[in-house]
């Protein structure tokens, strides 16, 4: 079994899947923020991308810069087969945990008053 993925790693990888060829650092950050519906630090996404790259789940290449970036290059990321497999395994694990249960769960109070 491949390395298991944390929730944030899954969010980053799934954002890359959604973005396709347009998956570069800033676009991934904005997609993750939109999907998680919260502010996310660029450093957190960058650290996750580096970790995923070192695990062999993603690869990157440099693209050209633009004037608004001061001519600085973009780094585009793409999913590798190992990353795809890890995502599928993560989804299968969650599906297995939820198998036979109805969502949303009912009959329990959320608060502990």
């Amino acid at each position: 079994m491949a390395d298991s993925l944390g929730a944030f790693e899954q969010a980053v990888l799934l954002s890359m899947v959604r973005l396709g060829d347009e998956a570069y650092g800033r676009a991934i950050l904005k997609e993750v923020q939109a999907r998680l519906d919260r502010d996310v630090a660029a450093g957190a996404v960058h650290a996750t991308l580096e970790r995923l790259q070192n695990k062999g789940f993603v690869a990157s290449r440099l693209g050209s810069g633009t004037p608004v970036r001061g001519g600085r290059a973009r780094r585009f990321y793409r999913l590798l087969p190992a990353g795809l497999r890890a995502l599928n395994e993560a989804r299968a694990a969650v599906d297995s945990l939820w198998h036979g249960l109805r969502w949303p769960l009912k009959g329990l109070r959320y608060d502990h008053a």
């Binding site: 800033r26 660029a42 957190a44 960058h46 650290a47 440099l62 608004v68 970036r69 600085r72 290059a73």
Partner: protein
């Protein structure tokens, strides 16, 4: 969206230079270029037009702070824990043998042991890949550890 000036450049709209310099110091050159480009793009296209220059600068500095945190939390935390542990141990030893002189050899041994433990704890491995950030964090963690030990 921020528009370029009449000469077609965005140079007049830029985050604090010291923050950009800090980012370049913290990250590997190839990483610093793409990361600072991403931040600059967001700063110019979204944050500065929406929030104004002062709040956009605060946003930029917070983003750089996030990178500093990513790079330093582990070595600094381990250094603090080791230093605190040694401090407590030293208190116990002093209470047990209040009049005993410190032994130079024993002290050196402690420094070597603590250095080894700290290095093993913070050295990037499979789970924590080596990066420019972790390279930059090592001296900071060393200072913390030596300061507390």
């Amino acid at each position: 969206m921020t528009m370029p000036s009449v000469d077609g450049s965005f140079d007049s709209v830029r985050p604090p230079r010291w923050a950009e310099a800090a980012l370049r110091l913290l990250l590997r050159p190839d990483v610093a270029e793409t990361v600072s480009g991403d931040l600059l793009e967001e700063y110019r296209e979204v944050v500065q037009p929406l929030r104004g220059t002062w709040r956009a600068d605060v946003w930029f500095v917070r983003q750089v702070g996030g990178f500093v945190w990513q790079a330093t939390w582990l070595p600094v935390t381990v250094g603090l824990l080791l230093g605190a542990g040694l401090g407590v141990l030293n208190l116990f030893e002093t209470a047990r043998h209040p009049l005993e002189e410190d032994d130079a050899g024993a002290l050196l041994l402690w420094v070597i042991v603590v250095s080894g433990v700290w290095s093993a704890a913070v050295t990037p491995g499979r789970a924590r890949p080596r990066s420019g950030a972790s390279d930059a964090a090592s001296p900071m963690g060393s200072v913390t550890r030596v300061g507390f030990a």
